[in-house]
């Protein structure tokens, strides 16, 4: 066990010395792989933030129940009782017509125009959040509510959340595809870089073999090089993502503010970062293994 650890320690030290001896070449190799990683990882971070912002902006589907103008408190309580009994309702909220008018004035900035109205044209409304987000389930709930007394109109506001869901699913697919394609590219880069190293060190390997080096001994430094290069590329990509978020955060905050929203950009979590590190090191190791096995 001690000899095994010693052999691995030597191989790792040799790898680190190689990086130290040729820092520019090592940095360029790491940069190429890091750029390859940036696309899927950047896409993943962008998508995570987009989903977060959409959630904050009320991306949950909503069904609006508009009450009749002559609906009284007893009618409203009856409708609320029925909503409580509905298994498909997650929550609901009453918005009185005065509150609705005030909100409309604030959102649209048409205070003066609204002040000119002789009466409030808006109805009392119950905003219902359904449990199920699928359109058929929401339509079933809406059809049921429409038959209730004093409910004049039911509006299923699923289009926005549906579009967002489709967009997010497409984005996920694009990021996954990019990840697979660029993972393969990374594998090829690693394989090629280490393949060239094997070729340039042919004489050294031959001499090592003459003095009793086993295949594992010869292979080990190359495998470590691949893994360390991959891990370093992941760290670089992670750092670039963090730096980019710091740079663009004020602009995004300003953009959100223009829509009356607030939020912070979120980078890779520690768990995500470690997963990236592990994945990249593993791909580097695999590339090195292929290069060494081929030659």
């Amino acid at each position: 066990m001690k000899a095994w650890l010693h052999a691995h320690g030597e191989a790792l030290a040799l790898t680190l010395r190689q990086f130290w001896r040729r820092p520019v070449a090592a940095f360029l190799g790491v940069t190429v792989i890091a750029v390859g990683l940036l696309f899927p990882v950047g896409g993943y971070v962008a998508l995570s933030n987009l989903k977060g912002m959409a959630g904050a902006a009320g991306a949950d589907p909503q069904i609006s129940l508009f009450l009749a103008a002559d609906a009284g408190a007893a009618d409203r309580m009856e409708i609320e009782r029925r909503l409580r009994l509905e298994s498909g309702v997650k929550s609901f909220r009453f918005v009185g017509k005065d509150a609705a008018l005030k909100e409309l004035q604030t959102r649209t900035g048409t205070g003066d125009l609204m002040a000119g109205l002789t009466s409030n044209p808006l109805p009392d409304t119950l905003l219902v959040t359904p449990k199920e987000t699928s359109l058929p389930a929401q339509e079933r709930l809406a059809a049921s509510a429409k038959s209730w007394p004093k409910v004049t109109e039911v509006d299923v506001d699923a289009a926005w959340s549906d579009r967002l869901r489709i967009l997010a699913a497409t984005g996920d697919l694009v990021v996954l595809s990019l990840g697979v394609v660029l993972g393969l590219a990374m594998l090829a880069i690693s394989c090629n870089t280490i393949g060239l190293q094997v070729l340039t060190r042919t004489e050294e390997i031959a001499v090592m073999r003459l003095f009793g080096a086993t295949s594992a001994y010869v292979r080990r430094p190359f495998l470590y090089f691949g893994a360390v290069q991959g891990a370093a590329a992941a760290l670089l990509a992670w750092a670039v993502i963090c730096g980019s978020l710091v740079l663009i955060e004020p602009r995004v905050a300003a953009l959100l503010g223009a829509y009356g929203l607030a939020g912070r950009l979120v980078g890779l979590s520690i768990a995500d970062g470690l997963a990236l590190l592990g994945f990249s090191a593993l791909v580097g190791l695999l590339g090195a293994w292929l290069a060494v096995a081929e030659r």
Binding site: H6, A7, E10, M208, R209, L210, F211, Y217
Partner: protein, 217 residues
């Protein structure tokens, strides 16, 4: 220690390089393997180091049959040998010291002990003080001495040398032979392949003579 029995070595499309060669080298012997260029001396050395395998016959080194040795076992056989090669095979991207350290690193020796042994081997080869030099800056004789230090650093019981003095003048050749002699005196078995007949008389030893792949003496 070394035993060749009816060994034949043949490469496709060429005449036999070794023809029915049989000999044995006992522990503690000093043996010269002589013959003209192309007689098969290097092939004998390559068979002993398991770089090649015999086409027919048996090659035993340290009681291990080279012809039947698995690929995984070959490195461990080589670790028991000290090898000096005609073309030096030194690595010019590292110092003399690191070149000598190489067999010990491969064997997985503790770095401190390996460094101590490497310095001792360089001392025996008369190169102490040159350990930080790059081998490319050394003369041919000094490079050969680095090879010798590298060959003996893991204290092998068998030292084989293929034309160790081929590119050296008489003075340097004598120095190299003296170092072989020193190792032989402490019990190391030495097999030196050389075409230089004048070298053979300089230190007593048994002579094996190869002629066109056959052992003649």
């Amino acid at each position: 220690m070394i035993e060749f029995t009816s060994v034949v070595k043949r490469y496709p499309g060429s005449p036999d390089v070794l023809k029915n060669v049989s000999f044995a080298v006992q522990p503690g012997e000093f043996v010269y393997l002589t013959g003209h260029s192309g007689a098969g001396k290097s092939t004998v050395m390559r068979l002993i180091a398991a770089i090649e395998r015999p086409t027919a016959g048996t090659v035993l080194v340290h009681r291990q049959n080279v012809g039947r040795l698995s690929e995984r076992s070959i490195p461990f056989l080589r670790r028991q040998l000290g090898m000096v090669l005609q073309d030096h095979r030194l690595l010019f991207d590292r110092s003399v010291f690191d070149n000598v350290m190489l067999p010990l690193q491969i064997a997985g020796m503790d770095r401190r002990e390996a460094a101590r042994r490497a310095r001792a081997a360089l001392d025996k080869a008369g190169l102490l003080g040159r350990e930080k030099s790059n081998p490319i800056t050394l003369s041919g004789g000094e490079q050969q001495r680095v090879c010798l230090a590298r060959a003996v650093v893991n204290r092998p019981s068998l030292l084989i040398a293929d034309e160790p003095t081929a590119s050296l003048d008489a003075g340097y050749a004598g120095d190299i032979l003296r170092i072989f002699r020193d190792f032989h005196r402490v019990g190391v078995t030495v097999l030196v392949a050389t075409h230089d007949e004048t070298l053979v008389g300089q230190y007593p030893g048994r002579t094996l003579r190869l002629d066109h792949g056959s052992l003649v003496a």
